[in-house]
Symmetry: C2
């Protein structure tokens, strides 16, 4: 696909992040199964539900743009999830693995923060205010999910992981 203007770039990036969200929904349940901390487990379960809502929101965006609902392989998310899953496999079960899971999920969140930040700005600059608003909602959710993970890491998981000999 040749991208020739800001509207085509918006669509290309929406296809990329749509695929990224689908990758997350596929992968996250396996990650959640490996979590020890009940607080972390519940945060990630909540974020999985939120992600399903974000996918529906992207489908609304495709509709508003008059574009087919279709993703395009997101190589960035593939790499991030592969790295995360290898790191989880390499970690000792328990608190340390929980810390690894938090780091992996924060890399996922930050990819999404960068991506939604860009598409929200494109939509705004194109005067597509309803699209921009939908994307801003997701951007806010990603930011909050990231902050929640930082709090869990700093207050509980890393503190426990530090105690591991």
């Amino acid at each position: 696909m040749q991208v020739e203007n800001l509207r085509e770039l918006l669509i290309a990036e929406i296809r990329d992040i749509y695929d990224a969200e689908e990758q997350i929904v596929d992968e996250l349940p396996d990650i959640i199964d490996k979590v020890q901390s009940p607080q972390l487990k519940s945060a990630l379960q909540m974020h999985l539900e939120e992600t399903r809502g974000q996918i529906l929101r992207l489908e609304q965006v495709f509709n508003k743009l008059g574009e087919e609902v279709e993703g395009e392989t997101c190589a960035g998310m593939k790499g991030i999830l592969k790295e995360g899953s290898d790191a989880i496999d390499d970690a000792e079960k328990g608190d340390v693995r929980d810390a690894v899971i938090i780091a992996a999920c924060q890399k996922v969140e930050h990819y999404e923060i960068a991506s939604y930040g860009c598409v929200r700005t494109y939509a705004k600059q194109l005067g597509l205010n309803d699209v921009a608003q939908l994307l801003q909602q997701t951007l806010d959710e990603e930011g909050n999910a990231d902050k929640k993970l930082t709090t869990i890491a700093e207050q509980t998981v890393n503190v426990q992981a530090k105690k591991v000999a």
Copy 2:
């Protein structure tokens, strides 16, 4: 490598981000060559120099930890850079390609913000204050680089890209 405690996790993540930084130093000159906006070109050139300094800072961290200076393939950065380079190839030369380059670089920055945020926190919790301080310096630089890209996008590049028919 089996990661059994927070210190081992710190080292594993430092090896990952060290490789990521080296990938960036390899890739960024080619990206800079493709930039049209003088403001964006100079921001990325400055960030390339900054990245070289960040690599030296990581080498200091390895030394302080008494560990060999050695990276470990960062699959996340590989995926992000592949995605970026494909998107740049797909974009029409000029303002639109500049907007694509900004998006690609912001994904790189956010990966680093997530990663340095984690390692800075691990170092702090391990009481390695000099290591934490070095990592915080880089984290601040990455945050500033990201903000600068947002400003360039919003004030010039995307505005120009919007005008492209």
